[in-house]
Amino acid sequence: MIEAHFVLEGRLEVRLRVFLVLAVFLVSGCSVDQVRVEQQLAPLPDEGALYQLHSSASVKARNVRTVELRRDTHWRLLGSIEKGQVFEPIDQVVTVNGFNVHEAYIVVREGRVIGYYLPYEKSFVEAEPVKIDLAENGE
């Protein structure tokens, strides 16, 4: 009888441990956020030129949802950060969407989107480089 009691207690303990490990895993997994690097935006002295995206593109970054940049959307050149030029979307909302959500602009270098600029956090989030067809309006 005593033995049976110990076996039962042992099983409960194992279950409790498994539950706790899962709970910790779940909670820590939920709060994984993207890596951000502080960056200072150097804005253009005047309002920047308007650009148009001529083909759609998918931007992937770690721990956040993939963002589809839609064809024919418009973008305004705001200025630059150390990593590249910063374009603000005019007719599409772009967010870095993980556990929390952050409004984002795209950062472009040598014809590729290389990440996001978060205007609230004044930070850069790296993405897998993806080529985009962004041309100044009228070109």
Binding site: A23, L26, V27, C30, S31, Q92, V93, T95, N97, F99, N100, V101, H102, E103, L118, P119, Y120, E121
Partner: protein
């Protein structure tokens, strides 16, 4: 047994419906919404889903309470241009950081997400066209 099941089902429906917003619908209320002043922007916040009706946390803008996340409800806030953090807390705080320009109108959908012990409300910035389309199915819960 049959009556017991019917009673349980009725109780579930009453609880679900009683948790939903009960004000005027967006289309009905739209004409009462004041025009935006020159020096402000407007943020509409709405929740389309009736799932997790018992979970209705306060919605805060930069830490100040502005409304609550009632199922199928909407409200709006007019704010000076700037940078804002919109948040809702249950067992965990979920937030959205964004900017607001003068004369700009933005839409935030309050989504219910699964949590460990209780659901979370996640504020998500959506395209204007999506917000305008979805908000018409909600009811005013401001004031």
């Amino acid at each position: 047994m049959k009556y017991k099941m019917q009673f349980i089902l009725a109780a579930i429906i009453i609880v679900a419906v009683s948790g939903c917003a009960s004000g005027p619908g967006f289309r009905e209320y739209e004409s009462s919404i004041p025009p935006l002043t020159e020096d402000a922007g407007r943020i509409y916040m709405y929740r389309t889903s009736a799932l997790g009706a018992a979970i209705q946390p306060k919605v805060k803008v930069n830490g100040e309470e502005v409304g609550k996340a009632a199922p199928q409800g909407f409200f709006f806030v007019d704010l000076p241009p700037g940078e804002y953090e919109i948040s809702a807390s249950t067992e965990a705080k979920r937030s959205l950081t964004m900017t607001l320009d003068e004369g700009e109108i933005r839409y935030i959908r309050l989504e219910i997400k699964m949590g460990l012990f209780a659901g979370h409300i996640k504020p998500v910035l959506v395209d204007d066209s999506v917000g305008r389309e979805q908000i018409v199915d909600t009811k005013y819960i401001g004031d």
